[in-house]
Subunit: 419 residues, 2 copies
């Protein structure tokens, strides 16, 4: 047994499959116990590294770790905590290296989105600068699908499948009632800046004629008159209209349709409530009976409806991260590469972190249909493979079974640290 | 082949399994083609009978009918249309009998909730009065679980499973992020008058300590101060608080927490938006970061997560309705009887419609825990069997497959009728 230990942390908003990545990291570390000692997990992400709250994953049974593959949420705790900039708050980064040193941590696996890719890169550079031998590998995760380089982000395929399925199911409900009841149904999907998740609603039907009859993307400025005219036309043509709206839907000037006015720890505005806002417009302008749903966390936690492709990819990037470490790589992120579209096949390539950090990937204009109210066939060809296959979790007593972990922390060695 | 035809109609809000009842009715009719001729389905429920828009189900393939078992929504169209009172609008009822006469319809299967049970009973009585030999059988359906006599209503078990599963999944999400992000999560569930659906959220955990840490039922008057104190205590104890709130949550004086001010065709107020209303109170009174979800139609359309028990029961009441007709019964509703709790077993009994019509079954006080913020063990024992078992639909191309019907209407024989 070596004393070269490893550290794994989950960062930012969790997904239905981030624990599948954790499973990939942990199981692969266990396979290489000759070269990787103990894998510690940060309690509540990077905060656990700063405060030296390190969970000893070696105390978890193989069975518990395997169950992570079908458990939503972040099993070790995640956080919305952005490290301050390295120039003025260097001590925070130095503290991390100190903790790593104190526990012989040579491998740092950071499971997150764009912000954490940036943190991962900074830590890698600082350790080099400080002469501490650390390999920092980023494990891609985000429901928003906005990471660059990688063809798609683990976590997205499952939320896409959830939104497409929910749209199909709800549309059948509305279709059967519309003669005397609800004419307009609005489903609000996540996606602050990029419309990927809302766009996936299009997969509910095989044609662009819907349902959904309209998708409102952040990429296309909201024009109330045009939107209402389109809804009205759909009701007149089909008897009802199903709309999927992105929480990031905004006006030409960038103002969000519904802006709660709050900001989260990363300085992003806290959104929510676009669906009722839009419903209010429908009522005012068209007078149709409406219903609306806001899926919120349900969509990104819905492991019961995960995409099998997504689960496999989430596991694979975790596994590959450990292999990268063993191959001596540093400051890389295993990325998914689309090798073929029909039939869909993919492989993993190692992307240098400086090409990933702090970049957002938006929906390309080529995927958006001409009227702006949905996606075209190119968009469908991109999205469809990502929702393929089911990977139902085991059920017990009528409910999905989830991993039960001990989450025991090791003794601290360093003085207390205040965030 | 006999010329004694049958008529089937779906009524009111649809469910994930109302088509499973349709499947039970149609398949059982087909088995008895010596005694039951053609089964017609009303296009958009009872409206189809009034307007003589009769779908010829004999044109559908066995395969298409079998697929109804896993298709949400109302395949033949449903409606929110309450027949006016028989004293002053007798002509409407007489029209129904005329249509039935014109098409040799001797069996009337009406698939709905309490309001349609009442309609079914009235039609049965009027036909008797008019000397037309009609057997009217009610097929129970409602997500609200508020039908009397029957132990539970087909449609409820699946929405209960959806709410319990979604609560469990979302709670894992919040638990993993609460140290730096959302502290209070609110899920709004359906249930205008009875708290059954919200109560099912309790099944997300095996204990009454949650999550969910609080369920707000219409049966328990809303007291803002007590509710906020409970949320605050949960956040302080667990780090976060998950609340499931019924859309019917109301103040002592009966005012709904969020009242959109609209009424539907039955004169019920159109609700929605309790979750954001409650979230606003959390923000104002406690200042915690919150998120909220409104599942709306998603919950009652979620056939992908149906309870196997519910699907079986929905099919069984449809099947039994036809058997009742063949046994010469009239004005009855096949009801589910709980024969044993552990292990759960059930059977079907035929309940006279006069005992069913226009009665609502509320959550009994014995199921509500002492503080009013959830259910107790007796409530769990009642609810748990209803969400047991999975009955995943077939998936194709990443999405649940649904029935594809021809829905061809037969030629009209009578003068046009205006609603």
């Amino acid at each position: 047994m070596t004393s070269n230990n490893a550290f794994y942390a989950q960062s930012g908003g969790v997904t239905a499959v981030i624990n599948a990545s954790a499973c990939g990291v942990i199981e692969t570390c266990r396979k290489h116990s000759d070269r990787i000692g103990t894998l510690y997990a940060g309690h509540n992400g990077i905060i656990g590294a700063l405060t030296e709250e390190l969970i000893d994953t070696s105390l978890e049974s193989d069975e518990a770790i395997a169950a992570l593959r079908h458990t939503p949420g972040g099993a070790f705790g995640s956080c919305r905590y952005k490290l301050k900039d390295i120039e003025t708050h260097r001590s925070q980064y130095e503290r991390l290296i100190e903790v790593f040193k104190a526990h012989d941590i040579r491998y740092f696996f950071y499971n997150g989105g764009g912000d954490s890719a940036d943190t991962c890169l900074k830590i890698s550079r600082l350790s080099e600068h400080m002469g501490y031998p650390l390999q920092a590998i980023h494990v891609a995760k985000t429901v928003d699908n906005d990471l660059p380089i990688t063809d798609n982000s683990p976590g997205f395929g499952s939320v896409a499948k959830y939104i497409a399925t929910s749209t199909r199911e709800a549309a059948l409900d509305i279709a059967s009632m519309c003669s005397t009841s609800t004419k307009v149904f609005i489903l609000e999907a996540m996606g602050r800046h990029a419309g990927w998740i809302a766009a996936a609603g299009a997969l509910a039907s095989d044609t662009n004629d819907g349902p959904p009859h309209m998708i409102l993307l952040p990429e296309v400025p909201f024009d109330r008159q045009r939107v209402m005219a389109h809804i009205d036309a759909a009701v007149k043509k089909h008897g009802y209209c199903v709309v999927v709206v992105s929480e990031g839907a905004r006006y030409e000037d960038g103002t969000f349709l519904a802006d709660a006015g709050n900001t989260d720890a990363f300085g992003h505005r806290q959104l929510g409530g676009v669906a009722p806002t839009l419903a209010g417009m429908v009522k005012q302008d068209l007078g149709y009976k409406y219903h609306w749903a806001v899926a919120d966390y349900l969509q990104r936690a819905a492991r019961h409806l995960a995409s099998a492709v997504d689960v496999e990819q989430a596991y694979a990037v975790g596994q590959r991260a450990v292999e990268c470490a063993l191959e001596g790589k540093n400051a890389v992120m295993p990325a998914i590469q689309r090798d073929s579209e029909e039939p869909y096949s993919w492989s993993i390539v190692d992307a240098p972190l400086e090409r990933v950090a702090n970049q957002e990937k938006f929906m390309p204009a080529e995927y958006i249909r001409e009227d702006g109210f949905g996606i075209n066939d190119a968009g469908r060809r991109y999205l469809s493979p990502l929702i393929q296959g089911e990977d139902f979790p085991p059920f017990e007593n009528g409910l999905p079974k989830v991993a039960s972990l001990r989450l025991e922390q090791i003794a601290k060695k360093l003085p207390e640290y205040h965030l």
